[in-house]
């Protein structure tokens, strides 16, 4: 069913501590889960919820983003009407780059005003989840909220950076703080905001006119008293993937079959760019257990507790343990990896042994030969 809502994936000033993983790409296109990029989860959720118009506000290092998204066909967003819109930064000179997301929303306001869709969902790319936004919209309308924030109960201290949210008994958000704040709450914001398009444009214009340019901090957090801002609690899986420890931890959580079934199938499939890789070949000596393995791999060695992306080769006698090997990685004969993250196209020479710790995995930079 088509929703009366358009999507915005906001990549402006993404807050992240991903080190070398974002050296050549934006956070949205960090590879995740064996065959996906982070942005696939929120984008697939939008499409699966019945949203057919999605804008991606690109900001920096977006070559890999354009390459990945293309015309949107893989997400069924290559449409005659609506579809995918990648909106590069609309700046006049370089100083505009530092301006907040409200400025970019303002410069792209035609995207909103041209559409008859009444609601907007604004999301970030690093919240790994699979969610029916139709239900969020239903609750938003049903409760008469001005803004609905998708949140998650997050009892333990976690490794990702997420805003904390204080929710009263009626579900209204009374306080919200940036990740480093001391707010005592076990609820975090998933950085998905649903509101009427008209309200968004009003917030954009008023805040900017007051010299403020940050959507969440200025337009929403400071208006919690005046506006009816409510929390929608997401029940499904959530990974907040914006630090390296969080990346490693949430990747490893996918090795739980319940998480795998929940995140990748419920309520709908996660789409990504199709690569036409053949099925994975396991050779005579392969020993594989408790792992997630994408297509196009060739495995002669041992793989345990690991995630292999598409086209990875594990040669004879090699051992890959508790590691993440991104696309086209090669582990040479009798090589050994433990607690490692290899970015794309890293080659591990024969007999080489690399070991990180589970708190601080060893991270190999894209195309390194080690």
């Amino acid at each position: 069913m088509k929703l009366p809502m358009m999507g915005v994936i906001n990549l402006i000033h993404e807050q992240e501590e991903m080190g070398a993983l974002t050296a050549g790409r934006c956070l949205a296109t960090v590879p995740f889960g064996g065959r996906y990029r982070l942005v696939d989860f929120v984008l697939s959720s939008m499409v699966g919820s019945g949203i057919s118009k999605v804008a991606v506000l690109a900001h920096t290092k977006y070559r890999s983003l354009m390459d990945h998204l293309g015309s949107g066909g893989n997400w069924d967003l290559h449409r005659k009407q609506d579809g995918l819109f990648v909106l590069p930064p609309a700046i006049e000179d370089m100083t505009d780059f530092g301006k907040g997301d409200l400025y970019q929303l303002f410069r792209n306001r035609d995207y909103f005003s041209r559409s008859p869709l009444e609601y907007v969902v604004i999301a970030r790319s690093h919240m790994v989840c699979n969610i029916d936004l139709g239900r969020v919209l239903e609750e938003h309308i049903g409760k008469g909220s001005d803004i609905t924030v998708v949140c998650k109960r997050w009892p333990n201290a976690r490794t990702g950076l997420a805003r904390k949210v204080l929710v009263d008994e009626e579900g209204r958000i009374t306080d919200m703080q940036d990740p480093y704040g001391r707010l005592a709450s076990d609820v975090v914001s998933m950085e998905m905001y649903i509101l009427r398009k008209e309200l968004l444009l009003e917030l954009v214009e008023t805040s900017l006119a007051q010299g403020k340019d940050h959507l969440v901090r200025h337009a929403i957090m400071s208006a919690l008293g005046e506006l009816n801002v409510r929390a929608y609690l997401h029940e499904g899986y959530l990974g907040v993937v914006n630090t390296i420890p969080a990346y490693y931890r949430h990747s490893m959580e996918l090795l739980d079959l319940e998480v795998w079934n929940d995140l990748f199938f419920q309520p709908g499939p996660i789409y990504t760019k199709v690569k036409d890789e053949p099925p994975t070949r396991y050779l005579g000596g392969s020993e594989v257990s408790h792992s997630l393995i994408a297509n196009g791999c060739e495995i002669e060695g041992a793989v345990e507790g690991s995630i292999l992306f598409r086209g990875v080769k594990v040669r004879e006698g090699a051992v890959v343990r508790n590691s993440i090997v991104m696309q086209n990685g090669i582990i040479g004969e009798s090589g050994m990896l433990e607690n490692c993250i290899l970015d794309k196209e890293v080659e591990i020479r024969p007999l080489q042994r690399l070991r990180g710790s589970s708190d601080t995995p060893f991270l190999a930079v894209k195309r390194n030969v080690i």
Partner: protein, 393 residues
């Protein structure tokens, strides 16, 4: 290749009767192969990789699933503004219509389609074979020989030669004799069912064949022998490489097993010659703790908790704890229950082998088959497929 210099006509209407339950609801070209593909993906990918941008796909038998699979040809890059892929079912004209009666008759009924593109050459292929071939090289050879028709041939073992259409050629590669399934073959060059025609010569031949009431409207039986009798310029084009007709359960199983060799004759992982297919959008395969996988080909979305050995598993197959899959082909979405065993068998799409049940056996001569969507509830151990207690879902 210049645009529309050459277009392809792909015969995809075959029933594939010898594939039994596997073609109960689908045409042979739509049968699954190689862990991810359907048979027709190979010829469509060959076209795409050879630079042929206009492909007519002739369908007839059980076309629903095949049509849905083909769509508008996007997975093969054949959704083009000019040309592209077109599905061509038999249709009705003012003076009535007819089913496709034979391979040549099917093309003849689509002369109108071909003429819309006014090609110089027409490639006739079928969606029944597994091979990777650059049709561009064949066209070059066809042009060099100024041929009316070029037939792709492959040397087969002499013992098998009587199962094929066999060609004899002179030292220049010109065809001197063509015998359909000869008892005493004079050559071991088998026709692959891949024909490159100069369009004007083909058009003429099709019209003459149509006018002949004795003809069955078949390329191998009628059109090629007649051209040969009339001393048309027929040449053979030798193909070196893997080619397999997967027309029977045994050959389908064998061709799947061929992929498991350490150096398979058919390399599916060739970045310069990708085999394209419709993507099922499944996550990376899940290998549970305690899984064991060796010498196998496994596709996305599988959940493996048991042991898999020398087998091909399509997307979304579940092999539950304690199960054993050996020397088998498991088609999409099939479930092999807890403690069940599948040995030397083909399990159809969405079929279920119940907990503790056994299909096939290591010393069985034949390949056992569980049809699509069937549920096997027979406990051990019945060696004969015919005795399997199968109930439809």
């Amino acid at each position: 290749m210049r645009r529309n210099e050459c277009i392809a006509m792909l015969l995809a209407g075959g029933e594939g009767r010898r594939l039994g339950v596997l073609t109960k609801d689908v045409a042979k070209p739509a049968v699954h192969f190689g862990g991810k593909y359907r048979i027709i993906d190979f010829t469509l990918s060959n076209c795409a990789n050879s630079g042929i941008e206009t492909v007519g796909v002739l369908t007839q038998y059980q076309p629903l699933e095949l049509n849905q699979y083909l769509g508008i040809g996007s997975p093969w890059g054949l959704d083009r503004r000019e040309g592209g892929m077109h599905v061509l079912p038999p249709y009705v004209r003012q003076r009535g219509g007819d089913w496709y009666k034979g391979t040549a008759n099917a093309i003849c009924q689509n002369i109108g389609f071909i003429e819309r593109y006014s090609p110089d050459y027409v490639l006739i292929i079928s969606g029944d074979h597994i091979y990777k071939m650059d049709y561009g090289l064949m066209l070059q050879s066809h042009k060099r020989n100024r041929a009316d028709a070029t037939l792709a041939v492959i040397p087969v073992p002499w013992a098998d030669a009587s199962r094929f259409g066999i060609l004899s050629v002179d030292e220049e590669g010109r065809v001197t004799e063509f015998a359909e399934k000869p008892k005493r073959p004079e050559s071991n060059l088998a026709s692959m069912g891949v024909y490159m025609f100069t369009w004007q010569a083909l058009r003429q031949a099709l019209i003459e064949d149509e006018a002949d009431p004795q003809s069955e409207g078949d390329f191998g039986k009628n059109v090629i022998p007649k051209l040969l009798r009339e001393q048309a310029r027929l040449f053979a084009y030798r193909f070196e490489g893997y080619w397999k007709d997967v027309g029977t359960i045994e050959s389908l199983w064998e061709a799947n097993m061929d992929l498991l060799a350490a150096e398979p004759a058919l390399n599916l992982n060739d970045r310069k010659w990708r085999i394209f297919s419709v993507n099922p959008n499944r996550p990376a395969q899940f290998m549970a703790p305690g899984a064991s996988v060796r010498s196998s080909l496994i596709n996305e979305g599988c959940v493996i908790e048991g042991a898999v050995n020398r087998s091909v598993l399509f997307h979304g197959v579940k092999a539950e704890a304690g199960s054993l899959i050996e020397d088998s082909v498991i088609m999409p979405g099939a479930v092999i229950g807890r403690g069940a065993a599948v040995i030397r068998a083909i399990v159809g799409e969405g079929a279920v082998v119940g907990e503790g049940c056994v299909v096939g056996s290591a010393d069985s001569k034949q390949i056992d088959v569980v049809g699509s969507g069937d549920v096997v509830r027979t406990r051990p151990s019945l060696p004969d497929a015919a005795m399997l207690e199968v109930e439809p879902l």
